[in-house]
């Protein structure tokens, strides 16, 4: 008797629910509620894991046989190509913003700082993972050299690769992750100079977060009090352009 109508109801109801979710997701209130997830998980994870929990490190034989290149494989701008042609001898990393002593460091200077090497797992937001070895100075060492001024809350990374043909990639992290022992500016990968596909001359490793936070082709490190003035204010290119979480620990 009611079998057919009921089954129809379920099917219609199911399709209606999916459509309803679209409507909720695109409404201002729905969006405001749903995009709180990053914040809530950020707080929960800081409570559960603390500030200094370490990402797991692996043995050399546990590395991926082949590490996938993702995002921009080559900035391919005139400036970048000139730097790459000179093996980045002319490249300088600027450290500025809310710092007492702005820095301009060559690759040789970065290599002469105390180094950290770590074999870690890179987790892309898409779902895949690859394990590789990364080496470079801890970001905390650079920030200590530059001396953060009062009010500095976030560290922003400005990159050489252009998104959509015009916007240089940018990302940001809080000071807890910036001073985390595994947060390094890697210039070597798997015991060789960082390849262009993986962000030469230097990429950020921020091991407790997803891949899009690990900015490649880093040109400038800026200390800021607020993310409001960076891009559209959400702290990163993918956060601003597509609504990805700023805290990408989940």
């Amino acid at each position: 008797m009611t079998l057919i109508t009921r089954r129809n109801l379920i099917v219609l109801g199911g399709a209606g629910l999916v459509a309803g979710c679209d409507a909720v997701g695109s409404s201002p209130v729905g969006r405001a509620v749903l995009t709180r997830d990053s914040d809530m998980h950020h707080r929960l994870q800081r409570v559960i894991g603390g500030r200094d929990s370490l990402a797991r490190e692996y043995r050399p034989e546990q590395r991926s046989p082949r590490f996938r290149v993702n995002g921009n494989a080559n900035p391919n701008t005139a400036d970048y190509n000139a730097l790459a042609a000179g093996k980045f001898a002319g490249w300088r990393l600027k450290v500025d913003g809310l710092v007492a002593r702005p820095l301009s460091l060559s690759l040789a200077q970065l290599r002469s700082l105390p180094q950290r090497a770590q074999i870690t797992r890179h987790d892309c937001v898409e779902g895949w993972s690859a394990i590789g070895k990364w080496q470079g100075p801890q970001l905390s060492k650079l920030l200590d050299l530059a001396g953060l001024r009062d009010g500095a809350q976030y560290i922003v990374f400005h990159c050489a690769d252009l998104m959509g043909g015009s916007t240089p990639y940018y990302e940001s992290i809080d000071l807890i992750d910036a001073f985390h022992p595994q947060t390094i500016l890697a210039w070597a990968m798997n015991d060789a100079p960082l390849p262009i596909g993986h962000g030469a001359p230097v990429r950020l490793r921020v091991e407790r977060q997803l891949g899009y936070k690990h900015a490649k082709f880093v040109m400038r490190v800026e200390a800021v009090a607020s993310l409001a003035g960076i891009g559209k204010g959400k702290g990163g290119y993918w956060e601003d352009s597509s609504g990805y979480e700023w805290y990408a620990g989940i």
Partner: protein, 243 residues
């Protein structure tokens, strides 16, 4: 029995079947599962390959490669990994905290001990066979004790509440690089992050299968009575059980 006049048939016996806590969790969880599966399929679409072990990407061997799920199955219906993640990670909190609250409440009101405890005799092959035959004859209730769950109900509810949902929650947590740093055992117990992702998907498929079977049995057992009992708590003991 055949002599009884229509007018003499007693009104159905109405009994209290489901506690308020059970009903609230059931519907909140039903909505949550719906959102979690839809948004999970959206996230899966971003990389529809599954691996075993710690790592796994395009150059590595995938044990399962699927075409992308169609828009009518995903949340949102258009391709947006970012939006799918917001849905999934928001409702993940509802799923996990809701299950925890339900478990605590069901220990206190003795729902677990009274209704879901598996007894040795029920698990014997003879009992299982008898229950299976009863199921195939569309008899779902023990006439002597009609409100008690039968063994297949118990096994499936226990499997969902104590195995599948916790497995989904913990394999989900194992996908989070922040949680993996906080709890390094997470990826290790599942044999690596990509294994956790595969188990997350398999557990989802089993849960989807449960939902299909569950809805089918609700329809076969009398949908109005069953759904009403899960809304109001009151359930009519089916006629044949009275005889």
């Amino acid at each position: 029995m055949s002599e009884i006049q229509d007018s003499e048939i007693p009104a159905p016996r109405r009994v209290r079947r489901h506690a308020l806590v059970t009903r609230i969790w059931h519907w909140a969880n039903a909505a949550t599962i719906f959102v979690m599966i839809g948004s999970g399929l959206m996230i899966f679409n971003a990389h529809p390959r599954l691996y075993w072990g710690e790592y796994g990407a395009n150059f590595d061997h995938a044990w399962l490669v699927l075409p992308r799920f169609p828009g009518w199955l995903t949340i949102p219906s258009y391709y947006s990994l970012a939006a799918g993640r917001h849905w999934h990670l928001s409702f993940a909190l509802v799923l996990a905290l809701g299950l925890l609250a339900f478990m605590i409440a069901s220990l206190f009101n003795r729902h677990f001990q009274r209704d879901l405890r598996l007894r040795r005799a029920e698990l014997g092959p003879r009992h299982l066979w008898a229950d299976l035959k009863a199921h195939l004859a569309f008899r779902f209730h023990d006439p002597a004790n009609p409100t008690a769950f039968n063994i297949f109900q118990k096994l499936s509810y226990v499997g969902v509440i104590f195995v599948l949902l916790p497995l989904l929650i913990f394999t989900g947590l194992a996908l989070s690089p922040g949680m993996d740093a906080a709890w390094p055992w997470l990826t290790q117990v599942f044999g690596g992050r990509q294994s956790a992702r595969s188990l997350h998907f398999i557990a989802m498929a089993l849960l989807a299968l449960f939902v299909v079977v569950h809805l089918t049995l609700v329809i076969l057992a009398g949908p109005i009575n069953e759904v009403r009992s899960m809304i109001t708590g009151w359930w009519d003991v089916p006629d044949e059980d009275e005889k």
